[in-house]
């Protein structure tokens, strides 16, 4: 692994990952205390991917996510307090208590929502890229998804269309080897997701998804290519989710494989790896990293306090947002 990017960038990657980790570790507590009740899919262990890709993006680039998108939301710059409030089902949540953990939105930083149905956001991300092309903008559109998506037909429809029209999309597969409970070896004949790109004549890059710097490099190249009008790229980032499919449990009862595999992946913690490098390199002191961690902990605690204090949606607000009222106003991202 090569670390020849600036210390500042490495620290941004590290800080982004740590912020996701600390946030989610506290979400684990809140789930166990039954303070958060909505279905919550944890990203712990996969943080290098959201960090590596989003640090390489511009704020006005679009991203789309899945049910496991706390990391994408934070990495792209979504407001932590609003996400915490959403998990609590409060009116101040990013989705006003209509979405929960699976429907996170932050249009001000290009996150046009996450959605849990497997492959649902794939063509939508391609469509956002088509919008950029029609407006002659150089915005890039990124879609994060799990390895389960490659089992769905619409993934291939979307890859084909994106390649055909040379759209600025990056398909970021977070291959954590599980679609809910089922291991990839029980779903596919070969472990070759990255090769799907060949069929559509687009680059496919397999990277260590537990190495934020490596993800950053690959994403940066793919983004530059897309922005330049050369079309889409498929990134296969190999990683592992530490916790179960949903909720804070470890899912060790899911076949024998997880019991064998998990300890190996815990040893490849992306945050510990980058921390070790930063310290060994003398780029930063342990004190500085501790201070960073303490600051994030405080930020998370504040988000919890705010979420607890916020009010719940009122019953009479049930029908709000079914339709947007037509007042002659234009879509929030509309061009004049």
């Amino acid at each position: 692994m090569s670390y020849d990017i600036s210390v500042e960038l490495q620290l941004r990657l590290y800080g982004t990952m740590l912020r996701i980790r600390i946030f989610e570790e506290r979400v684990v507590d809140l789930l166990e205390a039954n303070e958060i009740k909505c279905p919550t899919h944890l990203y712990i262990g996969q943080e290098a991917i959201a960090a590596g890709v989003c640090v390489a993006l511009r704020q006005d680039d679009y991203i789309f996510g899945t049910h496991r998108s706390h990391g994408h939301y934070l990495a792209k710059g979504g407001d932590m307090k609003q996400m915490m409030a959403e998990l609590f089902g409060k009116r101040t949540g990013c989705s006003k208590g209509r979405g929960g953990s699976m429907h996170l939105v932050a249009p001000e930083v290009g996150l046009l929502s996450t959605a849990p149905l497997v492959s649902g956001t794939i063509p939508i991300a391609v469509g956002a890229a088509l919008a950029s092309k029609l407006r002659a903008e150089d915005r890039v559109s990124v879609v994060f998804f799990g390895d389960g998506v490659v089992d769905e037909g619409v993934f291939y429809e979307s890859m084909n269309f994106a390649a055909l029209k040379k759209l600025a999309v990056i398909f970021v597969c977070e291959n954590n080897f599980f679609a809910t409970h089922l291991h990839i070896s029980e779903r596919r004949v070969r472990d070759n997701i990255v090769k799907i790109s060949d069929i559509y004549g687009m680059p496919g890059v397999r990277v260590d998804g537990n190495n934020a710097v490596e993800v950053y490099y690959a994403a940066d190249r793919a983004i530059a290519r897309a922005r330049g009008g050369a079309g889409p790229t498929l990134l296969e980032c190999r990683t592992y989710r530490w916790r179960g499919h949903v909720g804070p449990k470890w899912d060790l009862d899911v076949g024998l494989r997880r019991k064998q595999e998990l300890p190996k992946w815990l040893a490849k913690d992306p945050i510990v790896r980058l921390k070790k490098h930063l310290l060994e390199d003398g780029a930063v002191s342990l004190e500085e990293l501790k201070r960073l961690s303490a600051d994030i902990e405080q930020e998370v605690e504040e988000s919890i306090t705010k979420a607890r204090q916020a009010s719940r949606p009122k019953e009479e607000e049930l029908m709000d947002y079914v339709f947007r009222e037509n007042k002659g106003q234009e879509s929030h991202l509309a061009q004049d």
């Binding site: 006003k96 939508i124 469509g127 037909g153 619409v154 084909n160 079914v322």
Partner: protein
């Protein structure tokens, strides 16, 4: 005003919408073909370029998702499905994503997309080239459904659908393409959710949808010869439904026939009958009659088609029944 056909009115709306608003684009199977979508989109690609009038691979779900994504990112796409049957591949994107998106985002992001499935039936096309499934989409919150029956409405509702901030399903029927009517030359929109009285009457109300509205007017003319005064309500929009217009008319006549070109069970006629039973029961002088397709797949052979499809004749019979 000029007198043009229903298909020409749709094409005129496309031309004017594409000319007026750079956010509007068209995407769907067959839009570069001179025959695939009838004459309603002929040569649009030559006029506006293949970047804005996009023919697609055979990927209904992907294509619809692409259009949804573009709408989310601020464009005004019109996605075309040359047969409503083919659109069923895209129901996941339409229902799970487009219809729910604005709500599940707490109103932060809207989906101003127009989805245009075309109903094309008859001519021995059989079961997979004939289906009229508009009732499915009435059922789903978050999506509007319009079904114009005249050239004037065909143009005005397409414009309203594009201007709407929400997903709108615009459903046209090729049985109406040759209808001729007066259409304003300039672009105009007709409010979504407003029906219209095609004919005033006092003895019975016929609430009708799409081509059955035309058939209802024909039926009313025949009934007039027997001295029966029929009021015809053309709904134009199925969602939102113009409940006020329906209830007003039924309150006046006390008798209701509902006529629709879809299936009967859980169809549009069922919803309208239930509405009247709930809100205007006291005004009813007779049981409600429904004219809809039998619960049978669309057949092929001509005599079976004749037995299957409903026209003015069945509406006349239903009116006579509620008056007997």
């Amino acid at each position: 005003m000029h007198r043009i056909s229903y298909a020409e009115a749709i094409r005129e709306a496309f031309v004017q919408l594409l000319s007026r608003d750079p956010r509007v684009f068209v995407i769907g199977q067959g839009v570069w073909s001179p025959w695939y979508v009838g004459t309603s989109m002929e040569d649009l690609d030559k006029e506006f370029g293949k970047d804005r009038v996009i023919d697609t691979p055979v990927s209904e779900n992907g294509t619809t998702g692409v259009a949804i994504g573009a709408a989310i990112a601020g464009m005004r796409p019109i996605v075309v499905h040359p047969r409503m049957d083919f659109m069923l591949l895209a129901v996941d994107q339409i229902v799970n994503e487009a219809a729910n998106w604005h709500y599940m985002c707490g109103g932060q992001v809207n989906v101003p997309i127009v989805i245009r499935p075309i109903i094309n039936r008859g001519g021995e096309q059989a079961a997979q080239h004939s289906q009229a499934l508009h009732a499915w989409f009435m059922h789903v919150p978050g999506i509007k459904v319009v079904m114009p029956s005249t050239p004037y409405d065909a143009k005005g509702l397409l414009c309203a659908a594009v201007e709407d901030e929400n997903p709108v399903m615009y459903i046209d029927d090729r049985w109406l393409y040759e209808e001729i009517g007066d259409v304003s030359e300039e672009l105009y929109s007709i409010p979504i959710g407003k029906g219209v009285l095609r004919r005033e009457g006092k003895d019975v109300t016929v609430v009708a949808i799409s081509y059955m509205a035309r058939e209802a007017v024909r039926a009313a003319k025949l009934l007039e010869e027997s001295g029966i005064s029929t009021e015809v309500v053309d709904l134009r929009s199925l969602k939102p439904l113009d409940t006020e217009l329906v209830l007003q008319s039924v309150s006046k006549t006390g008798r209701l026939v509902v006529a629709d070109g879809g299936w009967k069970t859980c169809g549009a006629t069922a919803e309208i009958a239930a509405l009247v039973a709930e809100k205007a029961f006291v005004h009813l002088k007779a049981p409600i009659e429904r004219v809809a397709l039998p619960d049978c797949p669309a057949p092929m052979s001509a005599p079976l088609e004749k037995a299957y499809y409903r026209k003015a004749k069945q509406i006349v019979a239903a009116v006579e029944k509620v008056l007997s």
